[in-house]
Subunit: 256 residues, 2 copies
């Protein structure tokens, strides 16, 4: 077995089990402890796991801040952050806003903890956590109920029923794909249901989608392009996409 293969396998083990032991890996791959240690050191240098006495553990997300998720997505994250900053400007103090589940909306949540008198409705546990940790007494956070998906969203009939009983001023929706034909889409059927309920409960719809989302089509449609009032995206969005979006939505906001 080649070293890069072995390291990839180690990484899988760490991700799956949460932690590995040097001695176990050495026995399993039939190499010496030293070799495993060197593998772990290489992986730790790339920020893919954390070396500890006796082995290694997966890097725990959220413990400190955002320890390098993967080198390649750094740039995309800064675009998401920029989109979140711009979207935060669309929020008026004292209103009721909804945030769907997703990394971009989680980023937006961080920017909204300073908005006074805000009422926030979300089906994302991480998003609710952001506001809860801030602990502002003038803000109200409502978590919709439901069944938890692997991406920490709450979905299903309970979530939909909870959302139906509420009326929001504006929904910030993170999507997985958008195209002229399919509109806004997600790969998760249950999440699509929940998101449609959120759209129905909100006066206005703001979609947050970086340029990589254009042309991607998830299995399940959430809404037509024309249902969005505002789409916030980044400068790398190609001109044809801009033209199509401008045609369908009230306002297309591009962040630098």
């Amino acid at each position: 077995m080649l070293a890069p293969q072995r390291q990839a396998a180690i990484l899988d083990r760490v991700r799956a089990a949460g932690g590995v032991r040097v001695s176990d890996l050495a026995a399993e791959f039939g190499v010496s402890d030293m070799t495993i240690r060197r593998d772990l050191e290489a992986l730790a240098d790339r920020g893919l796991l954390a070396k500890v006495h006796g082995g290694a553990t997966s890097v725990q997300p959220g413990s400190t801040d955002e320890p390098g998720f993967a080198a390649k997505s750094i740039r995309q994250r800064s675009e998401k952050a920029a989109i979140a900053v711009r979207a935060a400007q669309l929020v008026t103090p004292g209103t009721a806003v909804a945030l769907s589940a997703g990394t971009t909306t989680a980023e937006l949540a961080q920017r909204l903890v300073d908005v006074p008198e805000l009422t926030v409705v979300t089906n994302s546990i991480p998003v609710a956590d952001v506001f809860y940790r801030a602990g502002r007494p003038d803000q109200t956070v409502v978590l919709t109920g439901g069944v938890r998906t692997p991406s920490d969203a709450l979905v299903g009939p309970v979530a939909v029923a909870a959302i139906r009983s509420l009326h929001l001023d504006v929904l910030f929706l993170g999507v997985h794909g958008m195209s002229e034909r399919a509109g806004f889409t997600t790969p998760n059927l249950m999440e699509a249901d929940t998101n449609r309920a959120l759209i129905a409960a909100a006066e206005r719809l703001v979609v947050l989608a970086d340029h990589t989302k254009w042309g991607t089509v998830g299995i399940s449609s959430i809404a037509e392009l024309s249902e969005a009032h505002v789409v916030v995206s980044d400068a790398a969005l190609p001109p044809p996409a801009r033209a199509t979006l401008t045609e369908h939505v009230e306002e297309l906001v591009i962040v630098p």
Copy 2:
């Protein structure tokens, strides 16, 4: 198991149950008391929990509580654990159970992750977390929505509405106080509403209450004593309390 993994697991337990005992953890992880103490010390140094005589508690309540309260709650933990073990025996695989918020129900949750085909409804984020981390595909966990209280319970109209749409076989209810006159009580008005909704949605009501709860009266009544089908308590419950409870409820279960 690696030391950092063990410490992370300890932290989870503390957050879920509000407190842990050294001896319990030592038995659970198969290490010596000293090792657990050193883990707790390391975590306490990082401000992640508070060490007390006999174990550790979540760092939250340290600011307002009089000294001694935390230690006392730790000492009662083994009683709560025994109550949880006994209550777990009342659960039939394949049924739909509800768990209210509270440290005792969190303890019970740990005992229920091994029950096959279980559907769990709860308004407690820590309880939902316990099942979510176990990640059993045959179990369904439904989190009711609502506004988050300082004790990580979800309450309010959204929670009540979500619960009303569901029908459960049995509810395990943790209470803060019980007495003949006031029945089962809690100090939190909003939680009382949610708990009443849970009672209405469930066929049977099992109340979990260690002996210290007898004679305590919270501001808000949840239910009459006679509304409970089963009460599970511990051996330190005084004879007069036993007599009164036996008179009102179908079954009084005392754990040794």
